[in-house]
Symmetry: C2
Subunit: 328 residues, 2 copies
């Protein structure tokens, strides 16, 4: 991803919400990355404490956290997201250190951000920010999460190009504004990303079954698995129960011949095998996971063995298995 960003001539500001790890974060330094994205103030605080000096919190600015923004802005280069005049006015009044902001644009996903067609609102936000001595307009930012509903990679490319084209139209009136985009499907699939100024993908660091289904990656690219002990073997129904439930993996599922909560691998000395044929995690309760398999594989499994689960959504799984109070 760093190579693609570099050859496209764009700033690479990877999203660290997927790994939330100091160690994985440091790998990016080897690629000369010094600006990052996070999804919460607490994540920003933790990465700032470990030396990251340029952080965008890619979540709509939360008026209940202004005190935290102020503390952080004194120490690092902090960027926030804004999509309303009301929030700009409050930030103007209460921020007391230099803070950048992106206007978040909704290019079709329908979650947060100013709708791309609402140029009046965009104008008002920028106008309101001009009076604020501590707020600096950086550019237009979008998360085109609609790529996650795409039926194929062509549709992902189409969503990307439509989204970038809307941001470019907005930039016509504000030539100094950066354009920042970020979803992993588009950043993985689109080859030439040179039309934008900044890329913020995060999930690609581990990928997962959802990204595989979308075509963002191969199964071999999935770089995280959860090691789950076998605690039950049921030959009469070809099922195995593991200690690995919703509190470890999250309840994210894919619809693929019934609900799929994960694929199963076996561990080797230096990693894991391909996923076991005809074997899948079909159900999760709080701590239990049920794997349905075939007689041949079931015969090879013993109580206490470790099976690996390739998760559906690595961000949620890693979040559950990361101690939130420290960055490891």
């Amino acid at each position: 991803m760093a190579k693609k960003a570099s050859s496209s001539g764009t700033i690479f500001r990877p999203h660290f919400k997927t790994h939330q790890s100091l160690k994985v974060g440091n790998w990016f330094k080897d690629h000369s990355i010094d600006a990052i994205t996070v999804s919460s103030l607490s994540m920003a605080q933790q990465f700032a404490e470990t030396g990251w000096q340029d952080i965008t919190i890619a979540f709509p600015a939360n008026l209940r956290e202004i005190e935290g923004y102020n503390r952080l802005s004194k120490e690092i280069n902090l960027n926030l997201l804004v999509d309303s005049v009301e929030v700009i006015d409050r930030l103007s009044a209460d921020l007391n250190a230099d803070t950048g902001f992106f206007i978040e644009i909704d290019t079709g996903y329908g979650r947060s951000g100013v709708h791309f067609g609402d140029e009046d609102r965009i104008k008002s936000i920028i106008a309101a920010s001009l009076h604020a001595k501590n707020l600096k307009f950086i550019g237009f930012l979008t998360h085109s999460g609609d790529t996650y509903s795409a039926k194929n990679t062509e549709e992902i490319e189409m969503i990307y190009h439509r989204s970038v084209s809307e941001l470019q139209k907005l930039r016509n009136n504000y030539p100094q504004a950066l354009i920042s985009v970020g979803d992993t499907p588009a950043c993985s699939i689109v080859d030439d990303l040179s039309e934008v100024d900044e890329l913020r993908p995060g999930n690609f660091v581990y990928y997962d079954l959802m990204q595989y289904k979308l075509g963002s990656c191969g199964l071999d690219d999935i770089a995280v698995s959860v090691a789950c002990p076998v605690t039950g073997i049921y030959p009469d129904r070809n099922e195995i129960v593991i200690y690995g439930g919703a509190v470890h993996l999250s309840k994210e599922s894919l619809d693929s011949d019934g609900k799929l909560f994960g694929l199963i691998v076996k561990y080797t000395d230096d990693g894991w095998t391909e996923h076991i044929h005809d074997t899948r995690l079909i159900s999760l309760s709080q701590e239990h996971g049920i794997i349905r398999t075939n007689t041949n594989f079931l015969k090879t499994v013993k109580h206490g063995d470790l099976l690996g689960v390739l998760p559906v959504h690595s961000c949620l799984t890693v979040n559950l298995l990361t101690d939130q109070s420290i960055i490891f």
Copy 2:
């Protein structure tokens, strides 16, 4: 629940996995409860450290945790769950302090446990345990999680009675064995629980929308909500975005006119209001929640307000918002 257990003459061994809280746990002491259920060794260790002396880990014994069981069995009265001869043999060989065990019975849920019809397996497990000097057979335990798929409260009662009747048949050959049951729907709905020896419900301590849908509780009985700041207001689509996503609430949903991830309440000086009419959490991503509402309610909401979310599954929500490294 304590009153119902007491009037039914059954042991009340509440499941603490829902609240995972020392403080909430202490409320049970006021009802003379001194035996509890948890779902993991680490939870057992933490409650043991805070003075609980009689704990059942209601999850199939995990051969990778025998060392932990040994440490704990020296300090408290510990019970494990077993459903195979293989595990009994390993526990026999490796446990070095007195430990109780229940045989987990699958009375129809199809998750873990010996199928109720497999009397040979039950016989073999008990026979194998007789040679073990540190293992003591306590009784038959089931979690009738099939009540969660019931269409109405009559079906929940039927599942309960069928399940208890299967356990009673097994007990005919082992008159000293206790019968332990535990799901919140049945424990909430069935009035007379005197046919069993022990009750282990957990979720009832907070309840949630899933239990409400099943008929286990009223909406007024839901005793947990998540306070989420408003970070986006979108009058054109009657939607509000809150800082409250899958990492706070979990992705558990109900199918109820489309996916439902929570109902919305407003906070008052001493609690919260009834849920807001025509207003529901319809979508969750990692940190964002999208509430769909009506024009009237939307007009009353401001950036930075706190809205309360009644969760679909309180066990998963509380687990996400509890610091796993301490019991608070």
